[in-house]
Amino acid sequence: MKKIIYTAFLLLVTVSCDKWFEAEPQGGGQSGAKVFDNEGSFRDYMNGIYTGLRSAELYGSNLTLGGVEFLAQSFNPYAGAGAWAKMDFNDDMALTIAREAYTRLYAAIYQCNDILRLFAEKKDVDFIAGSREMMVAEARGLRAFLHFELLRLYSPACTVDSGASNILWMEGTQPKGVQMTTAQLTDKIISELEAAAAELAKYDPIVTGVGYDDLSLLGTAPIDRVWKLNYYGCLAAEARALMSRGTAEDFGKAYGLLTKIIGEGGYAFVRTVSGTDYEFSAEFIFALPSPETGFCALSEELFNPAPDGKGVTLSARLDIDDLHADDRRRNWFDSDNTMRTKFAPTSKIDKWKTAPAIPVIKIGEVYLMAAEAAAKSEQLPAGIGQFNDFMVQRNSESLKLPDTATQAQLMEALGKQYQYEFLGEGVRYHFCKRLNLTVTAYDGSQITDVGKKAFPIVK
């Protein structure tokens, strides 16, 4: 009898149902992980990651119009931003931008890892067929994309110093990362993007043409996928990474990816401007919707004359006459030597409700990268062809290159187009850095070895 009772006690003590202890509190506007018992929560969490990316510390300002674009020497900087614009990254403004962006990018990577953890743990949650696979691939691709953003901001260009070891690869929510050299990390990023793209090719509505939307799950119609890292965004990101590594083989592979986007993506350039959509949103491959007043308000703040704004003007490095008379991008040049029009409200009636989106990857970059990639993979004629196609799409046939143009001429022409095509978007700096160019600063001085520039990692 005693033995039975003792045994019963021991069993009760040692054996218990774990679920009974997972007593998740409710309230306070918060939820524990149990909320991920349906597809909607995963979808909402994905939205939350992108919402963070559009913050002012990242693409909502500092990595685009309000920060990195100054490094492209597009603007005459406002008081206090001169050192930053000239790539003095020990300046206070640079230190602040670098610290905030580093923190927020890794926070977004943490979220990607967190949602991947939840996908792995919550295997019994029902999803619309294909939706889970799409989001898993998207999170994986976004994680690689964000690591590449860190790499190209905080390390010298891969072609300049592939042995630098500045960035941790983070996979999982545990405080453990893998320190990699730029070369190793680039390899990792490429393989991750490749894997993500392979999955997205099967499940992304932008490819299949069939959305996952129902009444409760908005945002997955093919047309809505532009606001997420979709299949084509993934391909373009992979091409960026390949071209940063810079071997002929990489360029060849990148050219293949880019022509795939051009050939299969169905993207078209804006040939005639209608309404007020001067940033040509139809050309977006991957973009972030601006917060309610965000990008528009930032543009107003930068280009408004003091004291209402910061009085930023376009630098002398930009000349409207570089563009053909019929080039729609001329609309971005305003009579007060600013570019307020590009990011102006898309409706003149309700200014703050119609803030423009934040472009991250556009079809224009795909064309320009394709031209370079072809030229550097021993397909110069094809590269010239891609460039000329781009110029035609931009209503600037007169700027087409002759078939006999050299690679150097092509690169020079590409460099000029990078100046204008991505005005205010923070793309040109990365182009210059990747090629380790010497850049003429807004004030006419020369900035050499841009490829060696790297944001400081402020602990």
């Binding site: 202890f21 509190p25 309230g27 506007g29 918060q30 524990g32 939205n47 919402t51 809505d224």
Partner: protein
């Protein structure tokens, strides 16, 4: 850790600050003090001490009990007949931290938000309140700490404070901050009896320490400080008013001399097989601030039945409480009122705004009290305790205890639309005026304990083994909502509201689920040497998912030296050595520290396109909102203690030394932001507490006429030291404290309750602003957090009681003085009310020492100061002495009682907190005053 004197900003109502004049909800979160008559466990033969006392509370061992502090109900009642917390504080000096900021004085509705035994065992940053208070055990089952203050003193048979890990190990992770174990009386076997208890209490507040200026002094001071430059007419007019109306004593207005009367009737009796008890009580308690009251009433029924092999008992209690907070608000609000203002017109109608348009415009708190605003709680509590015991044979028995508790607390807060908080509302905001907020708080718990007990006696050896399991499951539910838009002062119910307030309704539901197993083996030799080995394992929902199971253990021993070596000595009456080593796990974090939390980013939807049409398709965005560590460990408290107690001739002496290491304490550590956040929670803190407790009682007179006179003294010395603390934690905490001007901090090597301040270099004669010494020895007006210096521990170096007890025939007498020596004190009141004061509010007379152009050698800063740094000028060593309790009692002889048809009649008068002196002249409480109490008690048994 808030600065009460900085809370008088005039904010529009919203959220939890709806009722401006009422105490902030931060302390206590929900006032749920109530009197309750909780059930007793089994009764009968098994309760005889030394035989089977574990039946009542089987988590006790012989040697551990000998090492812990136990007090009988009678001892406690003699110190304070109605307030258990107060009685415990007087009887055991190791209790501290119950009201560290001394805010709540004698507020009948205040419950200690914290209490520590033998020193602070957690860092003071208060990231979690999971380990703020000891576990309260009543007859073997845990009860809400909130009930302790109003616990029915007449029920108590004994109270034991379990301070050491050696004793708390058997209560496990829930007792990480110690345990207060209460054992209640069991009805004795005798014919039906009826006892009536009455306690009548007068209370009177003492507020002299404010030492405020009167009207003449204040006007003169204002004039000297330049308040009337260019406006002499105002000065003359005010002087004329004062001459006509006199000076107003605002501090007197919220106070009253209160009288409370408690009544309790119990009927009880029984025989060897059946026992019963029924209790009815009513305790309407009034506080010394007007409108402050707590009315408790309830009933309980106990019935028990026993046979040779089976015992069964059940007690059901139902308790109700109606509590109201004083609408007069905190005392400091009254202290700041200028005495030259008349509070009301000739008809007695209070003015609302005083000195309107002048430099000293003030909103009258008296006006607010004339409105219908209120805050009240209605509390209901039901508790049922069932205990069974089956004695299988002479060696072996099994028992079970099953307890169900349901507490419900509804709080209602009404702010009149006429309140001055709505003064600046525009006409189109009229539907936002007035507020009625309802908060509901529920606790439902089930506890089950089943254990088996084995006892064997062989010649000189006695062996006892207990193996048990325990289940505790509690659900705590809170919700709150607020309606606004009352157009009349008398629309004082939620149904008058025109709409819900703009803020979100609140609501939380939390759980605590614990499954435990425990075991004890006790061995004694000749009843001289006692050795106990105890262990417990708890699996709890309150622990981290990766470390869900916590263990506690102890080894204790006691040796009866008198019996072993001095058995024939008449000089040594008793001599016992005790020693123990143990480790107890303890809670220290909340759910969000160890589990992910997510929230909707409601104001930041992820829009799905451009243009106004598409923007309406905003997608919900969800985000991870906390930094968590699923592998966080519980707090571990390891303790070693040795003690000796004995009686030599007529002197009782007990001395105990303890050394406690609380390790794996919750800390913050910096980490690479690549991990998602720049910090993480860790278990890298440790605090060591070591100390000595002593008590001496000497029977100095004991003659044949019945006179018995005993002098006694008790004391506790505790030294705490932070032995491990990551730099990141210290820097983060200290920077925050510095930023807010608080006098707290922490650093390795310092006391866990350290007081920190900047070393003052005095008031600069040229500017009237304070300068500080920086770390490098230079002086500066702009110090940094690194310049804060440790000033010492806030815990007194020595504290305790001394006094005399006497008995003569049927009289008994006791006088108990409390003392504390050497604790560091920060005089926040003087800093706020004098040093940082302007001339728009009333000030203490010490403000005469403020800097101005004609008083450049000043001790307090001038008017132009904005700094609020913690300064060493306000740090002092505080020594206090008080006459805490004075009592005289008389038990009527049976003959006289029987003439009145009674079996017994006792009367007593107890005076509590009669006199207090301190080396620091600063008000003792800024919110609710301390009061002297005079309690007349009567117990009649029929």
């Amino acid at each position: 850790m808030t600065k009460p004197l900085q809370t008088n900003e005039r904010k529009l109502p919203g959220g939890i600050s709806a009722v401006r004049l009422l105490r902030p909800l931060a302390f206590p979160a929900v006032v749920s003090v109530m009197l309750s008559m909780s059930p007793s466990p089994v009764f009968g033969q098994g309760n005889t001490p030394g035989h089977e006392e574990f039946v009542r509370d089987n988590c006790r061992t012989d040697s551990a009990a000998a090492a812990e502090a136990g007090y009988s109900g009678e001892e406690l009642r003699r110190l304070h007949p109605t307030d258990l917390v107060r009685a415990l504080q007087l009887i055991d000096p190791s209790i501290c931290g119950t009201d560290p900021d001394e805010r709540y004085g004698s507020d009948p509705n205040a419950v200690p938000a914290a209490m520590s035994l033998q020193g602070v065992k957690s860092f003071i940053w208060g990231m979690s309140d999971a380990d703020a208070r000891p576990l309260v055990i009543v007859d073997g089952h845990s009860e809400s700490f909130d009930r302790l203050k109003d616990f029915d003193m007449q029920r108590i048979a004994s109270v034991t404070l379990l301070k050491n890990a050696t004793a708390t190990a058997l209560y496990g992770v829930r007792a990480g901050q110690g345990a207060i174990v209460i054992t209640t009386k069991v009805p004795e076997a005798h014919p039906l009896r009826l006892t009536y208890n009455f306690d009548g209490t007068f209370q009177r507040a003492g507020m002299r320490a404010f030492d405020l200026m009167d009207a003449g002094q204040k006007l003169d001071w204002e004039k000297r400080m330049g308040a009337y430059e260019g406006n002499d007419a105002l000065y003359r007019q005010r002087m004329a008013d004062v001459k006509a109306n006199g000076s107003t004593d605002w501090l007197d207005m919220p106070l009253r001399t209160s009288f409370s009367h408690r009544h309790r009737v119990s009927v009880y009796g029984g025989d060897s097989s059946l026992r019963y008890r029924g209790v009815l009580y009513m305790n309407p308690v009034k506080g010394v601030m007007k409108g402050s009251k707590r009315t408790m009433y309830g009933a309980s029924a106990f019935i028990g039945y026993t046979t040779r092999r089976l015992e069964i008992s059940n007690e059901l209690s139902v308790d109700m409480a109606d509590a109201s907070e004083s609408t007069y608000g905190p005392m400091y609000e009254w202290a700041r009122m200028n005495p030259y203002y008349a509070p009301a017109d000739e008809r007695g109608v209070p003015y609302d705004i005083l000195g309107e348009g002048t430099f000293s415009e003030q909103w009258s708190p008296l006006y607010e009290t004339s409105l219908n605003s209120f805050a009240e709680n209605k509390i209901a509590r039901v508790n049922n305790n069932l205990t069974l015991r089956w004695k299988i044979d002479e060696h072996f028995s099994v028992a079970g205890q099953f307890n169900l508790t349901h507490d419900h607390d509804k709080r209602s807060e009404f702010t009149s639309p006429m309140s001055l908080v709505y003064k600046d509302y525009e006409i189109d905001e009229i539907d936002q005026k007035g507020s009625y907020r309802i908060l509901r708080n529920r606790l439902e718990s089930y506890q089950e304990k089943v254990w088996a007990d084995y006892r064997l006696e062989r010649e000189r050896h006695t062996l006892r083994a207990t193996l048990g399991m325990e289940v505790y499951s509690a659900t705590m539910t809170d919700d709150a909502f607020r309606g606004v838009g009352m157009s009349s002062d008398h629309m004082d119910y939620i149904s008058f509201a025109q709409r819900y307030a703009a803020e979100r309704p609140e609501g939380t539901k939390t759980y605590e689920r614990v499954l435990s197993g425990y075991g004890v083996v006790s061995w004694s030799l000749d009843r001289t040497l006692f050795v106990d080995l105890a262990g417990r394992v708890d699996k709890s929902s309150m622990l981290a998912p990766d470390k869900r199971t916590a263990g506690s253990y102890s080894l204790t021993a006691a040796y009866d030296l008198k019996k072993a070596l001095l058995d024939n000595s008449g000089f040594v009456g008793r001599l016992m050595l005790t020693a123990g080593y143990g480790s107890t796990a303890g809670y220290q974090f909340d759910y969000g520290f160890v589990n992910p939390l997510y929230a909707y980013d409601i104001d930041n939807p992820y829009f799905n396109g451009m243009g106004s049409n598409n923007y309406s398709k905003g997608l919900v965005s969800f985000y991870n909102m906390n930094n968590y560590n699923p592998a966080l460990k519980w707090k571990t408290t390891r303790n070693v203690n040795v003690g000796v107690s004995g009686r030599i001739s007529t002197v009782d002496i007990a001395v105990k030394y303890y050394n406690t290491l609380s390790k794996d304490l919750l800390t913050l550590e910096g980490q690479n932001v690549a991990f998602g956040s720049g910090f993480r929670y860790a278990n890298s803190g440790a605090i060591r507490n070591s100390g000595l407790e002593f008590s001496v009682a000497a029977g100095v007179l004991r003659d044949r006429s019945g006179l018995d006179l005993t002098l006694f003294a008790k004391g506790a010395v505790n030294r705490s030291k932070i032995t491990e603390l990551p730099d990141y934690s210290a820097t983060t905490f200290n920077s925050t404290m510095f930023e807010y001007g608080y006098h707290y901090g922490m650093a390795e090597g310092d006391a866990a309750d350290g007081l920190y301040a900047l070393r003052s270099a005095g008031i600069d004669p040229a500017t009237g602003k304070e300068q500080f010494y920086l770390r490098d020895g230079s002086k500066s007006f702009s110090p940094t957090a690194e310049d804060m210096e440790y000033q010492g521990s806030m815990t007194p170096k020595l504290r305790g009681t001394f006094g005399v007890t006497a008995a003569y025939r049927n009289f008994d007498f006791a006088a108990v003085f409390s003392y504390s020596l050497g604790g560091k004190f920060y005089d926040l009141y003087t800093q706020q009310a004098v040093d940082l004061a302007g001339y728009s509010e009333n000030v203490p007379t010490a403000a005469e020492g403020k800097w101005n152009t004609s008083n450049k050698d000043a001790v307090y800063q001038g008017l132009d100061n904005s700094g609020g740094y913690a300064s060493s000028r306000f740090v002092s060593t505080r020594n206090t002495l008080s006459l805490s309790s004075l009592r005289i009692g008389y038990a009527f002889p049976k003959k006289i009682a029987s003439v009145m048809r009674m079996q017994g009649l006792k009367v007593s008068l107890t005076c509590d907190d009669l006199w207090y002196t301190s080396s620091v002249k600063s008000p003792r409480s800024l919110y609710y005053p301390y009061a002297s109490s005079f309690i007349l008690s009567l117990q009649a048994t029929f």
